[in-house]
């Protein structure tokens, strides 16, 4: 099936080469980091995780969110999602690959990465994270590829994939729960030490991931002959709406506990992020951008009439995605380190090489995604569903 | 034969790539490594005591394994004394035992490591004996 990826129009190749360009620039930046060490990033003794780990955390959510289309289709027999499942699974694959790359570029001694397997350490959450992430990658590759292959041959997928699909449905929340446990089990970091963190992670993931999927589905429809289905996109919009509301609700719970209890340690990070603390306020503008985007998204999403308009839905999804990208891909990780263990403040902002490396990882993700989608779409263009979205028919 | 032209060109490129290193090196092999053990520290010792912690053949083959084990025993188990096959004891330390005799890292370690293109990362942390530039 891979051969589908090497036939494409002009636009396809321009896009591919654009991504390859970003990747090469980022690769050069990475060589520089590899040679001189992580000192070329904005990280410090106090803020020892930054953009890379933030992006990793955010992308685990994107990966997990594939389940939001797979679950209704397979467990509730919601046929409308039939055309979206492959897009969801392939998005998960690209996201997990990005996650792994972000962990890799964050390591001080990347060549020793296999030590994690050579010296397996079951008391470290990182160990489980590695297990669940690679397992999830395998599952999605296997399922996506097999189902698509069967579809191409116009036969039913082999029976053994069904149990794997069920497994992947259970597996998806686990990857994000384990990722939340990286943070939620650390003593002395009040901002992270909250039982609701995993729930917050899942809520934001199930809003941000499907939001991205909607955007992707709209793009696919615009530029190819494959239509993921109007109703499917609307249903997905509903999922984004509910999850975004739950996400904001959870954030509200955190704010209540911190500010009603008035315990300084619990308030400090929130104060730093949204108002600035002791004159340090570097993150305040972007945190407000995130909040305002969230607000816009919610206003657009909660009214079904607005949501039904696909252009406005796209705007709402973009707003959701970027709001969560800032909140979780940056604020959450950096905020946990401010103030530090001595109640002192060191601020963090990524450097240019750091940003280029992060951009390149995204470009790799999009490259993988583009190729996978190209394959899926080429096959879907040949074999499509009838107008009820239920039965596969041959395209005219 | 179908596509004969393409295949022949392919074969030529393949052969070129495979033989490139040999052609590039001009057919000469790098000189055979000849590690030296003639440091002043070793020469000072009486002839019959000039012995490494284990036999020469063992050290030649297994020094990397021995160093790995030493490292784990010292750093992880807190044991610092090594008793060799003859019952002699040594302080397990690359910097303070091995290199005290083999103070010629360049002619001792690097000689073979360069030849075989292995780059152990020992010296990123362990301080190599100060040698005069030769």
């Amino acid at each position: 099936m891979l051969e589908k990826a090497i036939y494409g129009g002009r636009r396809y190749w321009v896009w591919i080469f654009f991504l390859l360009g970003l990747i090469s620039v980022g690769f050069l930046a990475y060589l520089y980091q590899f040679k001189s060490g992580l000192g070329i990033t904005g990280m410090s003794r106090d803020v020892s995780w930054g953009l890379y780990i933030g992006q990793f955390t955010f992308l685990v959510g994107v990966a997990a969110s594939g389940v939001m289309v797979v679950l209704p289709y397979y467990l509730h027999d919601y046929k409308k999602f039939g055309r979206l499942t492959i897009l969801g699974e392939f998005l998960a694959i690209a996201a997990v690959i990005m996650c792994m790359l972000f962990i890799f570029v964050d390591l001080g001694q990347p060549l020793r990465v296999l030590n994690v397997i050579l010296h397996p350490t079951p008391n470290s959450v990182m160990f489980y994270d590695m297990l669940v992430l690679s397992g999830y990658l395998m599952l999605n590759l296997l399922i996506g590829w097999t189902v698509l292959g069967a579809e191409r041959k116009e036969v039913a997928p082999p029976k053994w994939v069904k149990p794997l699909i069920i497994l992947s449905i259970v597996w998806a929340p686990s990857i994000h729960t384990v990722t939340a446990f990286l943070y939620a089990g650390i003593p002395g970091k009040h901002f992270w030490l909250t039982a609701i963190l995993a729930a917050r992670f899942l809520a934001s993931a199930f809003a941000g991931g499907p939001a991205l999927l909607i955007i992707l589905a709209l793009i696919v429809r615009k530029y190819t002959k494959f239509d993921p289905g109007k109703e499917a996109i609307q249903s997905l919009g509903k999922i984004v709406t509910y999850c975004m509301l739950i996400n904001v609700f959870f954030l509200g719970l955190e704010l209540f506990t911190a500010f009603y209890s008035q315990i300084p340690g619990h308030m400090h990070t929130f104060a730093y992020l949204y108002a600035g603390l002791h004159g340090h306020n570097q993150l305040v503008p972007i945190m407000w951008v995130s909040s305002i985007l969230a607000l816009i998204a919610i206003v657009l999403l909660v009214f079904p009439q607005i949501r039904k308009n696909e252009n406005l839905l796209a705007v709402a999804c973009l707003a959701t995605f970027f709001s969560l990208w800032i909140d979780k891909g940056f604020g959450l990780v950096v905020g946990g380190f401010v103030p530090n263990s001595f109640e002192k403040i060191t601020e963090y902002w990524p450097t240019l090489p750091e940003a280029l490396i992060a951009l390149a990882v995204w470009a790799i993700g999009f490259l993988v995604l583009t190729i996978l989608y190209k394959i899926a779409v080429s096959i879907k263009e040949e074999v499509v569903f009838d107008k009820y979205g239920e039965k596969q028919i041959k395209a005219e | 034969m179908y596509n004969a032209g393409k295949i022949i060109i392919g074969i030529i490129i393949f052969v070129g790539l495979v033989t490139f290193p040999f052609i590039f090196a001009g057919g000469k092999a790098t000189a055979k490594p000849d590690p030296k053990i003639d440091t002043p520290e070793i020469l000072k010792m009486p002839e019959n005591e000039r012995k490494c912690v284990e036999s020469k053949s063992f050290m030649k083959k297994e020094h990397m394994q021995l160093l790995n084990d030493w490292r784990d025993w010292v750093v992880r188990d807190g044991n610092t004394i090594y008793t060799n096959a003859e019952g002699k004891t040594f302080n397990m330390s690359l910097q303070n035992t091995c290199m005290k005799c083999h103070s010629n890292k360049k002619k001792f370690c690097d000689e073979c490591h360069n030849y075989t293109a292995v780059k152990p990362y020992c010296w990123d942390c362990h301080i190599a004996p100060k040698e005069k530039e030769s």
């Binding site: 020892s48 350490t121 990182m126 970091k189 | 394994q65 490292r71 188990d77 610092t80 910097q95």
Partner: protein
């Protein structure tokens, strides 16, 4: 039975992978030296759980602190990074009371206590979160004496331990530390570190093995008291039973082994 080309290739791939794995497994079993050949030096200082008491009343001047810090940093080749405070490496350093014991501030407390510098180091916790989170056991608690050790050879530089330590005891080598070590004062008996690994106080495990007290304790003129917390007759237990002491963030349940007498 006939197999098509695709299946043949699949089988070939699988056998190759198995083959490579098999060969390396066989090579793994080699003739090697035995762990039983390693033993502790007879002169080594031993304890069930090492601990330290910092007697603040004996730190009178800036110099008293600096003496200890220098002894530590010089004997362990700790780089002195001044060009970027974000990349600082510290094993032993000072923080004023309000920063060392956050949450215990009191604005009416005597001025000299508010800003009194306290000596900070890794607490060699009994239940260390840094060890719990490390994915490779590069940092681990030595069973024999409770020292929380660093295996620099194994550290992959993920910095999970830095996030995990609630005491800010850990530093990361954001760059090659060697240019920041004064060559003339270098301790040739001890290694340096390389870029990309985490480091911290190791309670002078290398000196204990030779029967010596930690470097800072040795030069402290009795301001630092060192001993076995589980031995009722040890020096530390003696002070602990007589004087009022505090520890940093005891509410976290880490069981720190560094005590402060004010």
């Amino acid at each position: 039975m006939s197999i098509n080309r695709r299946e043949f290739l699949k089988m070939a791939g699988i056998t190759t992978i198995l083959g490579i794995g098999g060969v390396s497994a066989v090579q793994g079993v080699r003739n090697r030296v035995e762990a039983s050949q390693a033993s502790r030096a007879p002169e080594a200082l031993t304890a069930k759980r090492w601990a330290m008491v910092v007697d603040m009343s004996k730190f009178k001047s800036e110099e008293d602190y600096q003496k200890c810090i220098n002894a530590c940093h010089l004997s362990h080749n700790v780089p002195h990074i001044t060009d970027n405070p974000k990349h600082e490496i510290k094993w032993l350093w000072t923080e004023t009371y309000e920063h060392a014991f956050p949450g215990n501030e009191d604005k009416y407390r005597a001025e000299r206590f508010q800003h009194m510098p306290f000596l900070m180091l890794c607490n060699h916790c009994e239940n260390p979160p840094c060890v719990r989170v490390c994915p490779t056991q590069a940092t681990f608690k030595r069973k024999s004496d409770g020292i929380v050790m660093m295996d620099m050879h194994r550290c992959i530089g993920c910095r999970f331990c830095m996030a995990g330590c609630p005491y800010g005891a850990r530093s990361f080598n954001y760059k090659d530390p060697r240019p920041y070590i004064d060559g003339s004062k270098e301790n040739l008996e001890f290694p340096t570190r390389m870029k990309g690994v985490v480091e911290k106080c190791t309670l002078c495990y290398e000196r204990l093995a030779k029967g010596l007290q930690p470097a800072c304790v040795e030069v402290s003129n009795g301001a630092l008291i060192f001993g076995d917390l589980e031995d009722p007759n040890s020096a530390v237990r003696k002070v602990l039973s007589e004087r009022f002491t505090i520890r940093r963030k005891p509410e976290l349940g880490t069981g720190t082994s560094v005590y402060y007498i004010i």
